[in-house]
């Protein structure tokens, strides 16, 4: 299965070109050109990945991102013309998993989409625990004291990567490679923002994290089990 992709972009030429490139790679591509219809199209298509332009007429890309995230953990990759910190971080905080900066080359885009579609499901039962958090890896389930915590697939992958090797310190680059699938150096802000989002869900007090700890100057590690 190659996957369904929903492209939300107001630029018709770019959308068509994206369609050509992605179909060439064997994906099924749907397109919607404004933010208001994006949510309806999303419910209709049920895509495996959403490619979302941040600057849209009508509803802004950030609002679309939030609306989709509110009802689904589907991977969202932002298309942004701005690489400024504030714009990227805003997008990530609205729930996007990853981003590509225009103008990107097709290989880069396809790699990002593939990385989001890649789910390592080897079906081997694996249960991890971190403090009062327990993780059922094949079941994609995270529980605290028996109550489920809703994580997006990416947040889940991030937590599992850390929890599999408790006490080991992961650099941001290592996490980028393991969770996001970047083979070369990339933007470590991805990791920072997603760690914050993960903490907001799994920590009792995100200001004083106990599950995902920061190691100053190096990266992150899972808290004491």
């Amino acid at each position: 299965m190659k996957g369904r992709i929903l492209v939300v972009d107001d630029d018709l030429a770019l959308a068509e070109m994206l369609g050509i490139v992605l179909r060439g790679e064997g994906f099924a591509v749907s397109h919607v050109s404004d933010g208001e219809r994006a949510l309806a199209a999303f419910r209709e298509v049920i895509p495996d990945v959403v490619l979302l332009d941040l600057m849209l007429p009508g509803m802004s890309g950030l609002e679309v991102c939030r609306a989709i995230r509110a009802e689904s953990g589907v991977p969202i990759v932002m298309l942004t013309a701005k690489s400024d910190t504030i714009d990227v971080v805003l997008g990530l905080e609205c729930g996007a998993d990853d981003y590509v900066v225009k103008p990107f080359n097709p290989k880069e885009l396809v790699a990002r989409v593939r990385a989001r579609l890649r789910r390592v499901d080897d079906g081997v039962p694996e249960a991890l625990s971190l403090g009062d958090i327990s993780i059922d890896v094949p079941g994609h389930l995270v529980l605290r004291d028996g109550a489920p915590i809703g994580l997006t697939p990416l947040e889940f992958d991030l937590l599992v990567a850390l929890a599999r090797k408790p006490r080991q310190v992961f650099t941001r680059e290592a996490l980028l490679e393991q969770v996001w699938g970047y083979r070369h150096a990339a933007d470590t802000r991805l990791v920072n923002v997603h760690v914050q989002r993960l903490r907001a869900k799994v920590e009792r007090d995100p200001e004083h994290p106990e599950v995902v700890l920061t190691v100053r100057g190096v990266g992150y590690k899972a808290g004491p089990p």
Binding site: D11, M17, L18, N105, G217
Partner: protein, 533 residues
């Protein structure tokens, strides 16, 4: 450092009045007025007191001398009728004259009269304390038949000594030389003088204080608006542009306040204009960014698709696809750099610092640039300290600077080794990139940072640099409050040094690495005459 500070504070404390004197115009004016008016009042008071005392004593003396002369005439008349000293009436006459003269003075307190017989005779006529009352000098004068006066002290019935004026006159008779003394007590004169002195003192003191008060009041009227202006100016300088002075009346100070307010209003207007311009510039940059990037993305995707399919094309079309793809990439690099520099020009660049492992960062850049090094056939020699260096920097910007410096070094290094050195100090980190290429001509070490600068305009551009890389790197360094400097010598290659404060906001005082390579390192590496591009 601390002790110096505390010593300075102690000194300031001890010098507090001096500091207040230097700082407060009001205090200075009041102080000066106090001292100056004090001196004037004291001088005036002394002169006045002298004049009054002299005047009083003078009139008293004149009256006393006149009285004595009158008494002398009478005594002379009375005593001249007597015979020699054995005249039995002598004793009674003397007493009568004395009593008469004393009584002429009125109720008795105005003056006393003494008639002394020739020395050594008629004891008992003179009071026992005559020596106390009449100074010997005066008696000597009188005994030489001269009239005179002297100031002395006279005992009162209560036993106190009070100042007195004694006028003496000789009375020549057949019975011998009698001495006539008038003793005028000066108690009332002295009381008057001391009253005048007290009055002068009190008045002077009150006058000085009043003058000081007036000076304080007057300076206050001037100083208060000046202080207000200074305060307002400080707040304006701190960015509170809506700050204004209160205008009262139409005097000079009101004019000052009005001009000040006009200046502030003009400043505020200009700032608002500049802010608006800057906002528009930023908007424009952002809009251009989006508007250009979207079609460029489409072009790039299309070029890639064509490029990927070029095997199916006729040779000319295939080559066109290749050129298209390469040039789109160059165009994109140029656009990215242009937007970055315009972001700096608009003051829109923000530092995003985080604690960063400097060696790991350098290693990432080295790894990413390995294909470039291989392309130019340059070996990259990396020297890094063993202990971990953590600095609060914006890793994306530092990576960009390093990519630029290393890219340049490979490009101009003529295939010779390129050296990357990382070092850390107490409060700074430094990274140098050294090449052994054609080097820099004198003066070029600052010009390399100019936009679109080329060492040799005749040399064609072979490689992909945009001409903005070093300008952007310099801005990146400055945004960190850091340094980016170049050294170069024709034929000896070039070295670029990036120095950044280890903690955000610290000021750099030096660099852990020298800008110029040591002498043996700077050996000739290429024939002279070439230049960097």
């Amino acid at each position: 450092m601390l002790s110096v500070l505390s010593r300075a504070r102690q000194l300031t404390h001890r010098l507090a009045p001096v500091v207040a004197w230097r700082r407060s115009l009001q205090l200075r004016v009041v102080g000066t007025t106090l001292v100056a008016s004090g001196i004037v009042v004291v001088l005036l008071g002394l002169v006045l007191l002298n004049q009054i005392a002299d005047g009083l004593l003078h009139s008293q003396r004149k009256a006393a001398v006149a009285e004595t002369s009158a008494g002398l005439k009478y005594a002379q008349g009375q005593l001249s009728v007597l015979g020699d000293r054995r005249d039995p009436a002598l004793q009674a006459t003397l007493l009568n004259v004395g009593r008469f003269l004393s009584d002429r003075g009125g109720s008795g307190t105005l003056y006393d009269v003494l008639i002394l017989p020739p020395a050594g005779e008629l004891e008992g006529v003179a009071p026992a304390d005559v020596d106390l009352t009449v100074p010997p000098d005066l008696r000597l004068l009188t005994s030489r038949l001269q009239q005179g006066y002297a100031y002395t002290r006279e005992p009162t019935p209560e036993g106190q000594l009070v100042p007195a004026l004694v006028v003496g006159a000789p009375v020549e008779t057949a019975a011998g030389l009698f001495e006539l003394y008038y003793v005028f007590p000066l108690q009332s004169v002295e009381q008057t003088i001391s009253l005048v002195r007290r009055t002068l003192l009190t008045t002077g003191l009150v006058l000085v204080l009043l003058l000081a008060g007036i000076a304080a009041l007057v300076t206050r009227q001037v100083v208060t608006p000046v202080r207000m202006a200074a305060h307002t100016a400080e707040r304006l300088a701190a960015g509170l542009l809506q700050e204004r002075m209160v205008v009262r009346g139409e005097d000079d100070l009101a004019v000052l306040a009005t001009s000040f307010n006009d200046m502030a209003a003009s400043l505020q207007r200009q700032f608002a204009q500049l802010e608006e311009l800057s906002r528009m510039q930023r908007r424009f940059t952002s809009d251009v960014s989006h508007e250009l990037r979207t079609p460029l993305t489409t072009v790039r995707l299309a070029a890639e698709v064509l490029h990927a399919a070029r095997a199916d094309f006729a040779p000319e079309v295939a080559r066109s696809a290749e050129l298209l793809q390469a040039e789109v990439e160059r165009f994109e690099a140029l656009l990215t750099d242009l937007l970055e520099i315009s972001r700096y020009d608009a003051g829109f660049a923000v530092l995003d610092p985080e604690a960063t492992d400097v060696q790991a960062l350098a290693a990432r850049v080295v790894e990413a640039l390995a294909p470039v090094a291989a392309h130019y056939g340059s070996e990259l020699v990396v020297t890094m300290p063993a202990e971990r260096l953590i600095a609060e920097v914006d890793p994306r910007r530092v990576e960009r600077v390093l990519r630029n410096l290393l890219g340049n070094a490979f490009e101009h290094g003529e295939g010779r080794p390129v050296e990357l050195t990382v070092a850390g100090g107490d409060d700074a980190i430094a990274i140098t990139v050294r090449d052994h290429g054609v080097g820099l001509r004198p003066g070029d070490s600052s010009r390399v940072f100019h936009r679109f600068w080329r060492g040799d305009p005749s040399r064609s551009r072979q490689t992909g640099g945009t001409g903005l890389g070093l300008s952007i790197s310099l801005e990146d360094a400055r945004l960190h409050d850091g340094w980016l400097q170049a050294w170069g010598k024709v034929g000896h290659g070039a070295q670029f040094r990036l120095t950044l404060p280890a903690r955000r906001g610290d000021a750099l005082t030096g660099s852990p690495l020298p800008l110029e390579p040591s002498a043996d390192d700077a050996r000739p590496a290429a024939p002279a005459g070439g230049s960097r591009a």
